[in-house]
């Protein structure tokens, strides 16, 4: 991604550099050539419509080229590949809590292997933050009450800056961290140390503990919909709308079940607002994904961008103690 952005940046530098040069050369040349001399009077010129059209049209065409190029790069930045590894990020004042699909947890650090697409599914416990990795040229605001996503593929091992780019209070400038990019072997070794098991397995446990499985059965007899194979598919709602079951939809169903009820089911599910932490919601989402993902990444095109576009949901009450503190295995490497 950095390559694409830099290419466009260099193109822009050249184009705007030439424009600047053109204007400055004209300015300086005219200023010197037509400086006041006694007895020489200015020559009045009314203006010229063809000239005006020319110098409106040529910049406009150049602008459109820049626009199209910029939009193409943006589309790439905003469209995570189907088979990207998923990492959940929860932001709070003033730290980044990261949880890998495999269950590894980190604080203010993110370990990734070289050459793998990584998709971050992010939410905030309090105010708006922004997950910014300058070296990868990516940035995305992290909002309370909904998921936003961004993705990248690291190409060179090393340690890169992670910044919070949206002002978030006193220690905003302390909300920084490291992106640790490792060779796959090193990464495997790191990954095997101290994991609590895959996130989807944690999610399955929570699913059972909260009693979800009594209604959401794996047959058609349940009082709630069967959740197998649901993720990434269109869902018919009671009110006639159809939505795609993406991360934000699953999240909304857990926290506000009445809002988008599936067709043919009674409104009997209680809300879990305030009963589950952001981390637990993430685990549940990961679990529901896992029982749909016979082959990874069959979700259709829509679900990938919609994580950043869907309507907001209710922010979960912050329950600081409801989750195991991830500090203990936050930084095992280096």
């Amino acid at each position: 991604m950095a390559g694409h952005v830099d290419a466009l940046y260099i193109f822009l530098l050249i184009v705007t550099g030439m424009m600047t040069l053109l204007i400055f050369v004209c300015l300086i040349y005219f200023a010197a050539r037509y400086r006041h001399r006694p007895g020489v009077r200015a020559e009045q010129l009314e203006g010229s419509t063809p000239l005006e059209i020319t110098w409106s049209a040529i910049p406009f065409v150049i602008f459109m080229v820049i626009f199209a190029w910029g939009a193409t790069v943006y589309f790439k930045e905003r469209t995570p590949p189907d088979d990207a590894a998923e990492v959940y990020v929860v932001a709070k004042q003033w730290m980044w809590k990261v949880e890998h699909a495999e269950g590894q947890r980190e604080i203010n650090e993110l370990h990734v292997p070289v050459g793998r697409d990584v998709k971050l599914i992010m939410t905030s416990q309090d105010v708006i933050h922004s997950f910014y990795i300058p070296a990868f040229r990516i940035k995305q605001d992290v909002l309370p009450g909904r998921y936003t996503v961004e993705w990248f593929r690291a190409t060179k091992p090393g340690v890169y800056h992670l910044f919070c780019a949206e002002y978030c209070g006193t220690q905003h400038s302390g909300m920084v961290g490291d992106i640790v990019v490792q060779e796959p072997a090193q990464y495997e070794a790191w990954m095997n140390g101290g994991s609590t098991g895959p996130l989807s397995v944690t999610g399955e446990k929570i699913f059972a503990e909260l009693g979800c499985s009594t209604c959401h059965r794996t047959d058609t007899q349940g009082r709630g919909p069967n959740l197998q194979g649901v993720f990434g598919k269109p869902v018919q709602l009671e009110d006639g709308r159809t939505v795609t079951a993406d991360e934000n939809y699953v999240r909304e169903c857990i926290l506000d079940p009445g809002a988008k009820r599936v067709k043919g089911f009674q409104p009997i599910m209680p809300t879990f607002q305030g009963l589950v932490s952001e981390e637990q919601v993430n685990a549940l989402v990961a679990y529901i994904k896992s029982i749909s993902a016979a082959k990874p990444g069959h979700a259709d095109e829509k679900s990938k961008t919609s994580a950043s576009t869907a309507a907001p949901q209710i922010r979960e009450e912050v329950q600081q103690n409801a989750l195991p503190n991830a500090q203990s295995n936050g930084s095992q490497v280096q």
Binding site: D239, G258, R261, P267
Partner: protein, 239 residues
């Protein structure tokens, strides 16, 4: 304006001699009237944008949380709202009467129209106050004591409104009607001033610009209510 320079000077001298209301920097009374009326129209354009921001916020949330908004809307008293709408429409009529009375030098009618307009305005605010009180008693005022349990969503049997979204509705309800009421209070102040001027007999068929632009303001505040009433009270009502 561009072609009557010589005439303008004469009118200027003429006007200043006979019309104490003509301010020094205007050339003629017509220019002064035009300026005042354009000024009020321009001001009303800014008011449209002011309420426009609120309507925009309202429409976004109404689209997202339609059912909850419909349920919350049903708990406010349509009768009060409808009465208030009628009250304001009547007051617009009396404002028109007042302007006509000023134009045709009917001082008594002018004073009576202004007084009735103000009485209607006060009636509106009174009914609004009763409505607010009801909302307060029912714990529908957003904040710690807000409660909106088990209110069914119209047309969706067995489904209840989300109290948080209902609170959003009431936040907007209070801000929108509150700012409208504030405009009514300012309007009453303006009309009180017009009334004292009319009492002293200051308005003439030649000069009654304050009545005209005060009337414009009053009509605008009425029109805002004409939008607020269906948006807040009639979201999903059926006979």
């Amino acid at each position: 304006m561009a072609d009557n320079s010589a005439a303008a000077v004469q009118v200027n001298a003429h006007g200043e001699a006979h019309n104490p209301a003509l301010l020094h920097h205007f050339a003629e009374p017509q220019q002064q009237r035009d300026a005042a009326s354009l000024g009020m129209w321009v001001f009303l354009a800014t008011e449209v944008m002011f309420f426009g921001g609120l309507f925009c916020a309202y429409l976004v949330y109404r689209r997202w949380y339609f059912g909850d908004f419909a349920a919350a809307s049903k708990t406010i008293n349509m009768g009060y709202g409808a009465t208030n709408t009628a009250v304001l429409i009547c007051s617009s009529l009396t404002v028109v009467l007042a302007v006509w009375a000023a134009q045709t030098a009917r001082r008594t009618l002018l004073i009576v129209s202004l007084v009735i307009t103000m009485l209607l305005g006060v009636t509106f605010l009174g009914i609004k106050g009763i409505e607010y009180r009801e909302k307060f008693v029912e714990h529908h005022v957003p904040g710690a004591s807000f409660s909106f349990d088990k209110v069914p969503i119209p047309g969706h049997p067995g489904q209840y409104a989300n109290p948080r979204h209902a609170q959003l509705f009431f936040s907007l309800y209070f801000v929108m009607t509150g700012l409208h009421a504030l405009h009514m209070i300012i309007g009453l102040g303006i009309f009180l001033w017009l009334l004292t001027m009319a009492w002293k007999g200051r308005f003439t068929p030649e000069w009654h610009t304050p009545v005209e632009i005060g009337g414009l303001y009053w009509h605008f505040v009425d029109i805002v209510w004409i939008y607020l009433f269906p948006l807040l009270y009639l979201i999903d009502r059926h006979p």
